[in-house]
Symmetry: C2
Subunit: 435 residues, 2 copies
């Protein structure tokens, strides 16, 4: 079961699905008049309870705000309504030889509005940034029903405070995002993918550094899979390749993009050879067919395999500065073993930007005492070392205590003051971000 579809999401029992910004504003005005809270819903792929609703609230779904309104090949910008899925935008952009420059496994369901409100990241963030860095303009309905309209389609805009960044990542607590102007990039004509088995995180980072400096093509993806995770997904998918030694502690999916497949494959070969000079024990394969490339990606993206083995397994999503990853993983492994030697996280993630996902071999949520210890192990010192307890999943209703425990107190007080300023009646998504 996708945790985003948790029954608690639909507790309100009432869903409205407006067809325009004006209709959203109407709903907000009526709700404000009667003091009825609004819980905005996009694709419901969130993982931290940001869409949970309760009786007496209204769910406002973006399902009918699903138009790609503008997509200009000269500008390389799309203007879309909030309910357009990432995949729908990817398809529309591909028709003009473009792509949104952001990608994630939930692409078929996640909406641009939801991705805006959660500041989604995904696979290409190390290169293109997160949603915040792709959004040029934004329209949102405010708590008094007025419409914040800032649909600029240029990257440079120094005309006052850039308030769209308040709505991006606010998880629907400051306004309802209705439209977004998003930057597009040229769609590469070709890609090539390697799966490397590596002896250490230092080897992972050296591989990424070589790939970033590749003269042919551009680094498109650098996804790390720790041994336990690859063992689980490869077994579930019936995959093995003689070229990849599954005894290695960590694996790297390395993707290049460019215009010529064989040139990119040759570039991956050169990266492999240069890496092997420093780390002679490495193994790996370069996909030679589209089917093989897809299969390598499934080993990373089919995270549902974990949830089928361990339904509702506890999952975490941290950002760690690249220079701290090795020490972080060592420490966390040690501290988790001290809590319970049977506790083994499946670890995978976006290594080039330091975003690690950890999902535990445990069905259902941890008991409260264990959860507190696990969080202490995972989050301890993360803020001080320049990381974050929530890289891309947000805070929602599940991680409020972690936000309170780890955030800078001045930031936290300013967040509360801004919420009070822009949504004094706590109309928008109550119980998320703030308790």
């Amino acid at each position: 079961m996708d945790p985003g579809w948790h029954p608690a999401n639909l507790g309100a029992g009432v869903i409205v699905s407006p067809r325009s910004t004006a209709e959203v504003a109407d709903v907000v005005r009526v709700a404000a008049r009667h003091g009825v809270p609004i819980v905005p819903h996009g694709g419901r792929t969130g993982l931290v309870g940001g869409g949970i609703s309760r009786p007496g609230e209204i769910i406002l779904s973006s399902a009918r705000l699903n138009r790609v309104e503008r997509l200009d090949a000269v500008e390389r910008v799309a203007v879309v309504e909030a309910g357009v899925t990432l995949e729908a935008l990817q398809v529309a952009a591909a028709e003009r030889g473009l792509e949104p420059g952001i990608d994630l496994a939930a692409r078929g369901t996640a909406t641009i509005g939801g991705m805006t409100s959660t500041n989604a990241g995904g696979i290409m963030a190390f290169r293109n940034g997160v949603m915040r860095h792709r959004i040029l303009g934004l329209e949102a309905v405010m708590a008094d029903g007025s419409i914040y309209s800032d649909l600029t389609r240029v990257v440079k805009n120094a005309a006052g405070y850039d308030l769209k960044h308040l709505f991006i990542g606010a998880e629907g607590t400051l306004g309802i995002v209705t439209r977004v102007a998003i930057k597009l990039d040229p769609l590469p004509k070709a890609t090539a993918t390697a799966l490397l088995g590596l002896p250490s995180i230092a080897a992972l980072q050296a591989a990424i550094d070589l790939a970033l400096r590749s003269d042919v093509g551009q680094l498109r993806a650098a996804e790390a899979l720790w041994q336990g995770y690859l063992h689980l997904t490869s077994k579930a998918l019936g995959w093995s390749e003689a070229g990849v030694d599954l005894a290695q502690p960590v694996f790297l999916l390395l993707g290049l993009s460019g215009s010529d497949t064989s040139a990119l494959q040759a570039a991956l070969e050169r990266i492999f050879e240069e890496l092997a000079e420093a780390f002679p024990d490495i193994t790996g394969i370069i996909a030679t067919s589209v089917a093989q490339e897809r299969m390598l990606w499934r080993l990373r993206e089919d995270t549902d395999i974990i949830y089928r083995a361990y339904p509702a397994a506890p999952s975490y999503d941290v950002s760690v500065p690249l220079s701290e990853i090795e020490a972080y993983v060592d420490r966390v492994t040690r501290e988790l073993a001290a809590i319970d030697p049977g506790l083994k996280p499946f670890v995978f993630g976006h290594l080039a930007d330091g975003n690690l996902h950890l999902v535990f071999n445990h069905a259902g949520p941890f008991a409260e005492g264990i959860a507190a210890k696990v969080e202490a192990a995972l989050y301890h010192g993360l803020g001080q070392c320049g990381g974050s307890f929530s890289a891309e999943h947000g805070v929602g209703s599940k991680r409020i205590h972690s936000l309170v425990q780890t955030a800078d107190p001045v930031k936290l007080a300013s967040m509360r003051a801004i919420k009070e300023l822009l949504d004094p009646a706590n109309l928008f998504n109550p119980g998320k971000l703030f308790s």
Copy 2:
């Protein structure tokens, strides 16, 4: 005279230059107690009067906050104090094979703190975004003397409202930026530059599209120079090349970066040849030496040539969506001629992101009536078409009326409410952004 060094900047007569964030906080607390406004100064390279001070105010200079505190090659992140110049950061980063990914002509003087507060853009923004997109973490002193501390060094952080974006581009009106964590990129080993003479904006855009899709190297710069501007700078610098036909209406400086100079030069040749198939009349040269490459860049960057010919010439800085540039330039040219046929702007700018600079052949400011007509011509419809009246220079004290005239009223009201919330006594940079 650099307009940023206008005597009005120093009207306060009192400058403090703290050596640490704690000292900045002390200054703010004392100033708050006595109701003395603070005008923050970085490199004083601003062009819109953002640093103007008056008697009774204090100038807070970042000159002694000049440490590069951390620069990690694995992380590709620098943490610097606000007073570090862009060039100092570029030099420190280059020692580790890295660069800040943002560049502008005032690099030797402009400070990272000032560039943060004005959300500076420059030459590589079409590819890397503006300052806002490069900053991972930020520290600022608030109006009550408390310290907002959010020095994360990761690109993915979904832990609540990302309030650093309030300080970025706020021109010192919400807090004093004291430290910044900034993303770095690998420094290319080689660059190559072409100067093309082109018949139309359509040809400019086709050239950029080809360069963006180049398989060798990456597009690093795409700077447009309209005929009048190139004629002025080439004459002042005593430059001419047989390969560039100065009768063309518009010129493009196209820069590629990669690891091998001759491969990049060959890529520029291919772009030229492919472009010539669609536009047979184009002319152009590819620099074959470092000295020649530097000279081509001086033709674009020596904007002081204008100010020597027309001291304190009125200058404008607009963002236009790429699909609208041709129509915009046509309309503005027509409307300016209707105001005064002698009025000719020197036009140049960052074509790949739609940022045009227009500086007029007029010494000193326009008479008020003319200024209003010129602004009407330049700004008319810009907001509606998705552009901005201020791409990268900000609002300062000079452009407040333009902000009020063009901004979305809901945005403007929210800006005022946030200023009132975070700086109720109007302590920080009064008379900037708001009248």
